[in-house]
Symmetry: C2
Subunit: 274 residues, 2 copies
Amino acid sequence: LAIASVEGDFTLPRVNAYATVEAMPPCDVVLVALKTTQNHLLSDLLPPLVKPGGAVLLFQNGLGMEPAVHALVGEQVLVVGGLCFICANKVGPGQIHHLDYGRVLMAIYGDRYLPQPTSPLLQKIAADFEQASLETRLSENLMLARWQKLVWNIPFNGLSVILDALTDALIAHPQTYKLATQLMHEVAAAAAGYQLEISENHIQAMLADTRQMPPYRTSMKIDYDERRPLEVEAILGNPIRYAAQVGVAMRSTTMLYQQLQFLNERDCLTPRTA
Amino acid sequence: LAIASVEGDFTLPRVNAYATVEAMPPCDVVLVALKTTQNHLLSDLLPPLVKPGGAVLLFQNGLGMEPAVHALVGEQVLVVGGLCFICANKVGPGQIHHLDYGRVLMAIYGDRYLPQPTSPLLQKIAADFEQASLETRLSENLMLARWQKLVWNIPFNGLSVILDALTDALIAHPQTYKLATQLMHEVAAAAAGYQLEISENHIQAMLADTRQMPPYRTSMKIDYDERRPLEVEAILGNPIRYAAQVGVAMRSTTMLYQQLQFLNERDCLTPRTA
């Protein structure tokens, strides 16, 4: 792996890479870094890999991935949700470009996303990450962490694809600034349906951060530009359905979701013709 | 003018064309076929042209153009709203391509869009159109006619630009079909705020017609593809403001409007750089 990083380039000349899970030894800790659009593969990938007493870490955006993984690996395996705050792209096979940030947040998944205290195993994993110079935070409320990240991901991933725009243009234009802010409030209202508070300060800080960031191409925009399947279900469909379960209608998010489904199915799920 | 028409090609070798209104004789009837984005020119164009006792016909999409024209030409000039049901494009200077349909509807503008009986002058104009083989209908309720057309124009003009799509794709995909239908209901609800009834039958008939139509590139999509200013105010902004005046919030239309304003200002109102 060749990593070109804002914090200094480096290469990993030898990595333990496997073409199949059958060729791998069982693991204490399995990090899943697939796009959520590939999560249907996990029922084949995870069972040969995870050890009882081990952990599966889902480093993915969105909401609602953990219940299926929990059902798959059983009570003996810790399911941990991971959120990455990093700007990094795979620019070619084995070629990583690290542009900015670099921090992860982890929290244990509990039944129906109920808060869970951290465990010695998770603390050990976090310590390993920290030892590898990866800034790591732990939370006891995975659902809050996921909704907090959705506050940004829903408007900016969605609008960046629909309007073919980077974050700087979306935040600079008064109409998309207004629309993004309104979407953020809608996400906060959905989280409030689960008694999760996302404050106005959190929203204003995210908007201010986005204004300060260098022009950023969101992950969904990168997927769209590459005509890869979009994470519409994890990032929009699931939050809309979770909100509906507590009686909150995410009307603007639903409109964004409908527009994205159209683009996804037309441009990303059908084979390209020359 | 060279017209390539589904109903037979023809050319008009000599037309009375003028580069300025000052070179034209005053007219009994002035047809305005400008895009609404150019209506700010009318304060220069109309006064030298219209005769007292004459008429100005606005063949334009959208809502809210007539009051300014009425104020401009005064009580002595009849202001008529015209709606074109035709699929025709200007494909080059003097080159017209007529693809489908060909019908106009006209109604007299009355103060605050209150219904107005037709007048002898309008009937005479309609008879001239009919004599020229143009199917012509008259209405006494201009506002109803404008809202009825907006029921189609708001979803299909808007979504065709935002999703870079022709009507057949929008109507075929279940999510955009659903979104278009919802937008149509929102427009009907806005019209209802003015005691104008747009029935469910009207909406279903429009959807069925759109499904039967050959793939159609909307006028706003053509403007966008040519990077010409989009008629966002006449087709979306004004209807939203008229609805707000009677307490109806057009939430989905507003989101469409915000997205279109972003695209319009980024791509159509700023000079293109090579």
